[in-house]
C-alpha cells in the first residue's frame, strides 16, 4: 500500500530557504484590485472540487455530484461546491420570465413574479440539505473510498426567502382542510413532492431565492427553490413554479417509487421525509494519509432533521470507548454543527467514529442497530455511524464493523 507521506519538518541547519530567501511576493508588487469582479479560489485549491462517483448513474443529467467534505471547514458550504442532484439536467432560467403559481384549495389562485416575491418580508436561515440517498451506496457494504462519495450529498447554506405560509395566506388557502401541499418545478422533470403542511404552518418552509448572500446557483434551482428544513433534498424543489394546496398526498414518482425505504418484509415506506440525526468525521477520513504521528484535531459534522444537535461523541477504538466532542456554536436548528476533539495518534491502527444525539434524544445508530430494523437492501436514509480505519502507514480506510 501507500507509504506515509513523511513531511514532519526536517532539521533546518541555519534555516529554511522559504524564510532566509525572501520569496518573490515579499519583494515585489502584486496584482491589482478587481482582477476578478467575482473572485475565485487559489490555484493551489484546484483539488477541491465536486465530483461524480464513477458508474453510479446511467446518465449525467439524472445524476449527482458530491461535495468535497474532506476539504471543508466550519459549516457553510461554498456555493461553488454545493452538491448537485438533477433528474433532468440543470438550467439557467431568466428570472424576469419566471413565475410562481399558487393554486388548489385557495380562494384565489395566484401568480407571482420574482420582483413581487423579492418584495415580501424575507427570512435568512442556515440549514443543511441532504439528499435522501446520501450514504445510500453503503447500506450493504463499503462501496466508496472517501467521505466525499460516502457523505457528500450534504451541504449547508444561509438561505433567504419568503415563508411559504405568507404566499398561501395571500391566496386565501384553506389551511384547515388543506393538509398537504404539492411543490412542482419548472424543469423538464417538473419535480413534484408532497410537502408536510406542519412545516409550512410553523413558518419553516421558505420559498427561497438567496443562498449564502447571493442568488441561488443555477445548479441549485435559480431563481427559486423550496427550502424544507430537516427534510431530504428532493423536497427542496428547484426552479419552483407551482404550489398546490390539497387534502391528500400526491403520490409522485419521487416519493412513492423512489426515495422509498425497502424494509426487510418487502414493503416500502413512502413519504419518509425527515433526515434523521447523523454525523461523520471529515478529518481524518477515508482516502487520506496522516503525515505523522502526534497531535490531531478530529473534526466532523453533525446534523438532525428533527432539530438541534445536543452532543456528539467520538471513539478512536471502534466504539468501545467514547469521549464527548466540542461543538462549535452557534448550534442551529436543522443545520450542520461542526464538532472537534483532540487526539494524539500513537501510530497504531485506530478506528475513528462519531455518534450524534439530537435534542429529541435520538441517538445515531450503529450499522448493526440500523440494519436490525431496516435490513440492508434500502437505498435511502442511511444514517449509521461511519467508521474510518487509520492504518499504521497513516492511510485512512472506509470500513464497516462486524
Amino acid at each position: 500500500a501507500t507509504a506515509p507521506v513523511a513531511l514532519a519538518q526536517k532539521a533546518v541547519g541555519e534555516g529554511e530557504a522559504a524564510i532566509l530567501e525572501l520569496p518573490e511576493h515579499t519583494r515585489g508588487l502584486g496584482q491589482p484590485v478587481v482582477t476578478d469582479g467575482y473572485g475565485k479560489p487559489s490555484k493551489y485549491e484546484a483539488n477541491v472540487q465536486r465530483r461524480q462517483s464513477p458508474g453510479l448513474t446511467q446518465t449525467r443529467q439524472a445524476s449527482v455530484s458530491f461535495a468535497p467534505l474532506q476539504s471543508l471547514f466550519g459549516i457553510v458550504t461554498p456555493s461553488g461546491l454545493h452538491f448537485e442532484r438533477h433528474h433532468q439536467g440543470w438550467w439557467d432560467i431568466d428570472p424576469s420570465q419566471h413565475r410562481l403559481m399558487v393554486n388548489g384549495m385557495v380562494k384565489t389562485p395566484k401568480v407571482f413574479t420574482m420582483d413581487e416575491i423579492m418584495r415580501l418580508p424575507s427570512q435568512s436561515r442556515f440549514h443543511f440539505i441532504e439528499c435522501g440517498a446520501n450514504t445510500g451506496m453503503e447500506w450493504g457494504n463499503v462501496a466508496v473510498p472517501t467521505v466525499q462519495y460516502s457523505h457528500g450529498m450534504l451541504s449547508c447554506s444561509e438561505f433567504t426567502g419568503v415563508p411559504l405560509i405568507t404566499l398561501l395566506e395571500m391566496a386565501g388557502a384553506d389551511l384547515k382542510n388543506g393538509k398537504f401541499l404539492l411543490a412542482e418545478g419548472a424543469d423538464g422533470s417538473s419535480m413534484t413532492r408532497t410537502i408536510p403542511m406542519s412545516l409550512v404552518r410553523s413558518g419553516e418552509v421558505l420559498v427561497a431565492y438567496g443562498q449564502n448572500g447571493e442568488m441561488l446557483r443555477p445548479e441549485n434551482g435559480y431563481p427559486l427553490r423550496l427550502v424544507v428544513p430537516g427534510v431530504q433534498g428532493v423536497s427542496w424543489v428547484k426552479y419552483l413554479r407551482r404550489i398546490e394546496v390539497g387534502d391528500q398526498p400526491y403520490g409522485s414518482k419521487d416519493e412513492v417509487l423512489h426515495y422509498v425505504d425497502l424494509m426487510p418484509d418487502g414493503t416500502h415506506r413512502q413519504y419518509t421525509s425527515i433526515q434523521e440525526c447523523k454525523s461523520v468525521v471529515t478529518t481524518p477520513s477515508g482516502g487520506q494519509v496522516l503525515l505523522d504521528k502526534g497531535f490531531y484535531s478530529i473534526s466532523g459534522l453533525a446534523w438532525s432533521g428533527r432539530g438541534k444537535i445536543r452532543h456528539v461523541d467520538v471513539s478512536v477504538d471502534g466504539g468501545r470507548n467514547w469521549r464527548r466532542a466540542r461543538l462549535q456554536g452557534p448550534v442551529m436548528d436543522k443545520c450542520l454543527t461542526r464538532f472537534s476533539i483532540d487526539w494524539a495518534w500513537d501510530g497504531k491502527p485506530a478506528i475513528v467514529q462519531s455518534r450524534a444525539t439530537d435534542e429529541t434524544g435520538y441517538v445515531q445508530p450503529t450499522y448493526r442497530q440500523l440494519r436490525e430494523v431496516r435490513g440492508s437492501r434500502s437505498i435511502y436514509h442511511n444514517n449509521a455511524i461511519q467508521s474510518w480505519l487509520v492504518q499504521e502507514n497513516g492511510e485512512v480506510r472506509n470500513v464497516q464493523l462486524a
Partner: protein
C-alpha cells in the same frame, strides 16, 4: 401599520391566475385520480409510441437497454392477485423494476405525462400517455393486449397493480400527523460511553483492486493540511 388580513397586507404583490394559466400548469394526477384528464389510448397505439419515443432508452420490452434501469419485470400473476410483489421479500433478488414497486397507477401516468420522453418532456398527447402507460402495464401482464386504458377504467386497473398493497406510511419520518404514522423513530440506539459491548472487527472494506475505482485520491485532497490524499494510481512509468 400593515393590515392583519394577509391578502390585503401586501398591496400590489401578486395577481389572480387565469383559468387558462392554471390549466396549463396544474398537470398533476393524484392517487384518487384528481387531475386526470378525460381520454384513452390503446395498448397497440402504446406500442407504437413506445417503440418510436421510449425504446431507445428503456429497451424494446421495457427491460432497459444496457444503460437504463428496467421498468418491467419481476412481477407475477400471483402478485397481481395478492397486491404484493413476492420478489421484494427475497434478499437475493437483483434490482427492483418500476412495476415491482408501483402502488398507484396515477404515479406512472403522472410521471410519463410530465417528464417523458426524458429529452422532450410534455410533448405527448393525452392519448399517447394513456396508450404508453397501458402498454407498459401490458408488458407487466396487468392488462391484455387488446386493452384501451382510459379515465373510465383506470380505477379498475389500479386494483390489479402487483404491489398496490406493498406500501406503508407507518413510520416516524413524516413531520406532522397528516399521514397517521408512528411517533417514535423505529431505530432506538443508546449512547454507551465506556467499555461498550462491541467487537471492533472490520467486516467490510474496499478490495485492493478497487483502490483506483474513484481515481487518484491524492488529486482529490488539498495539498496542505494535516493529511494528504492517498496515491491510488501509480504514476505512469517514464
Amino acid at each position: 401599520q400593515a393590515p392583519a388580513d394577509p391578502a390585503q397586507r401586501f398591496p400590489g404583490v401578486g395577481r389572480a391566475a387565469t383559468p387558462a394559466e392554471v390549466k396549463a400548469w396544474d398537470i398533476d394526477v393524484r392517487p384518487d385520480f384528481k387531475g386526470l384528464p378525460k381520454g384513452s389510448g390503446s395498448v397497440a397505439k402504446g406500442q407504437d409510441v413506445w417503440e418510436a419515443k421510449c425504446a431507445s432508452c428503456h429497451g424494446v420490452f421495457g427491460e432497459s437497454n444496457e444503460v437504463f434501469a428496467p421498468l418491467v419485470g419481476g412481477t407475477t400473476e400471483e402478485d397481481i392477485k395478492n397486491g404484493r410483489v413476492a420478489n421484494l421479500r427475497r434478499a437475493d433478488y437483483p434490482g427492483r423494476t418500476t412495476l415491482m414497486k408501483l402502488a398507484h397507477v396515477s404515479t406512472l401516468w403522472d410521471y410519463i405525462n410530465r417528464a417523458m420522453p426524458w429529452n422532450a418532456p410534455k410533448s405527448l398527447s393525452v392519448e399517447e400517455v394513456y396508450a404508453v402507460t397501458g402498454y407498459l402495464l401490458h408488458l407487466g401482464g396487468i392488462v391484455p393486449a387488446d386493452f384501451t386504458l382510459g379515465d373510465a377504467n383506470i380505477a379498475e386497473v389500479q386494483q390489479r397493480l402487483p404491489n398496490r398493497k406493498g406500501m406503508s406510511t407507518a413510520h416516524a419520518m413524516w413531520p406532522g400527523a397528516e399521514l397517521g404514522g408512528a411517533r417514535a423513530p423505529d431505530v432506538q440506539a443508546q449512547a454507551c460511553m465506556k467499555d461498550c459491548p462491541v467487537e471492533p472487527k472490520v467486516a467490510s472494506m474496499l478490495p485492493d483492486f478497487a483502490r483506483d475505482a474513484h481515481g487518484n485520491l491524492a488529486d482529490q485532497n488539498r495539498l496542505v493540511g494535516p493529511q494528504r490524499g492517498a496515491r491510488t494510481v501509480q504514476a505512469a512509468a517514464k
